[in-house]
């Protein structure tokens, strides 16, 4: 882990650092939002740890979405990231995991949180991020014949595609 933020990390999430000393890359606490950047390869054990360890007890996967940092004002470790928002109802705490993707792919967590299934499909649809092990990684909001991943920064916002075929029921 980087030197900067070490203290912050130890005060905010000591258990996570202790359990995954190599995987936690940096910790940020901007305006009270705890955000932890972790290695993509460790995502499944970390998410399992957050859900199942009694000291963590994050029952909710509130959100999961992609990010494209192309052209962002600050330097980032990579272009694409997946952001996970966790919430613990019993502890009333929130945690954001940020994972930069070296190869535009990451392990799916659909079997850990049921909420992840559609959210991962949406991240695939919008950013073209591959979720390995996902049972049904298809487009969810865009038309099934749509070309491109619209929330990528290099996708023009006026792109118009004429699509009219309904999705056959066999492919639902």
């Amino acid at each position: 882990m980087q030197e900067t933020g070490t203290k912050l990390a130890e005060s905010k999430c000591p258990e996570l650092i202790e359990a995954f000393p190599q995987a936690v890359l940096s910790v940020d606490d901007y305006l009270g939002d705890l955000s932890i950047s972790v290695r993509a390869s460790e995502i499944r054990p970390i998410v399992r740890f957050l859900k199942e360890t009694p000291s963590q007890c994050y029952e909710f996967l509130m959100d999961l979405f992609g990010m494209d940092y192309e052209g962002y004002e600050r330097e980032t470790p990579g272009r694409f990231a997946v952001i996970y928002g966790f919430y613990s109802h019993s502890r009333k705490t929130r945690l954001r995991l940020k994972v930069f993707l070296p190869k535009n792919e990451i392990d799916s967590i659909h079997d850990i949180y049921k909420a992840a299934n559609w959210l991962e499909r949406e991240a695939w649809d919008m950013f073209g991020i591959q979720f390995k092990g996902h049972p049904n990684l298809k487009r969810i909001l865009c038309h099934h014949e749509f070309k491109g991943h619209p929330l990528r920064k290099d996708f023009p916002s006026n792109n118009y595609q004429r699509l009219r075929t309904a999705l056959p029921s066999t492919e639902l």
Partner: protein
Amino acid sequence: MRLNLGPSHPATHGTLRVFVELDGEIIRNMKLEIGYLHRCFEKMSETHTWNQVIPYTDRLNYVSAMMNNVGYVMAVEKLLGIEVPKRTQRIRVIMCELSRIIDHLVAIGTNAVDVGALTCFWYFFRERENIYDLFEAVCGARLTTSFTRVGGLYKDLPEGWTQWCRKVLANLPRSLDDVEGLLTTNRIWIDRTRGVAPISKQDALDYGFTGPCLRACGVGYDVRKAHPYYDYDKFDWSLITEEEGDTYARYLVRLGEMRESMKIVEQALDDLPDGPVNVDDWSIALPPKDQVYGSIEGLMAHFKLIMHGIKPPAGEVYSYTEAANGELGFFVVSDGTGRPFRVRVRPPCFAIYQAFPQMCQGQTISDAIAALGSLNIVAGELDR
């Protein structure tokens, strides 16, 4: 038998496609297709200034547009590090709670129509119209309100509005009592809703349920209680929860919440301070009109704000409010320019609708229709 329902069907209240495999009348398997109402909210936000996104938020949950307006500007205000005046906070609370009431009126009213009880619908929609009149008076629009602005509101309340609001509220209990009398102990309503499409507490948490659907499973999570914003902790109101997690429990929770929302609105009206509604910062809120027409500084500030927009410092925050359907979250990223780098909305419906096939497993088609109404899926918010 395989049957295709929707995407355009009166019982889907929007454009939802449901494909079911039936064994007789029993649903053995269900598949969903969503996205028919996808309008690229998140992409469009990146091409507009921060304030220009507000009209787009109306179209998320269009049944309670005010709450989306408030949820979005709260996120931008968090990014800017500003707090809006007390009066604005109170007005936003009033608007949010009135919106919650109309949202629940629609949810219960249409749910009752789906199972054949048309009268409740008329009783509730009369009250809904009255509340829409209140909205129309403050912002000129009934459905797509765009009432909030970053750092304040479009306008202060018009003369006499608070008395009018009290009058509308005074009428509301009659309708609630009428519908409660018609439904709560009604044999047919109970037969059609009790035990229909239940979901366990564990599954509801796992799917990310929030709002009335979660509270109907016995989990007392409400952003207004757990992380109070705008002085929600200072108002006297209680959390409504039920244990069964079925369609009937969701109905009871919504009915109870409307009465609690009324309490909050009344307290907010009693304690409505005077003062400006916008923050006193011309780089965020528009200067008063006499300054725009009467001074060069005012004119410049107005021009800059309209042409270049607000410029929050670079950074990313997540802000969340309790909307009618659950936690409405906005994750906003600024890169210091006048336009959002990214706006991500966490729509409560998305998580809830994902569980629909599991909830309907082994139920009949007519039960699925009753359940769909009780989940209050709003396609605008689901598909964004």
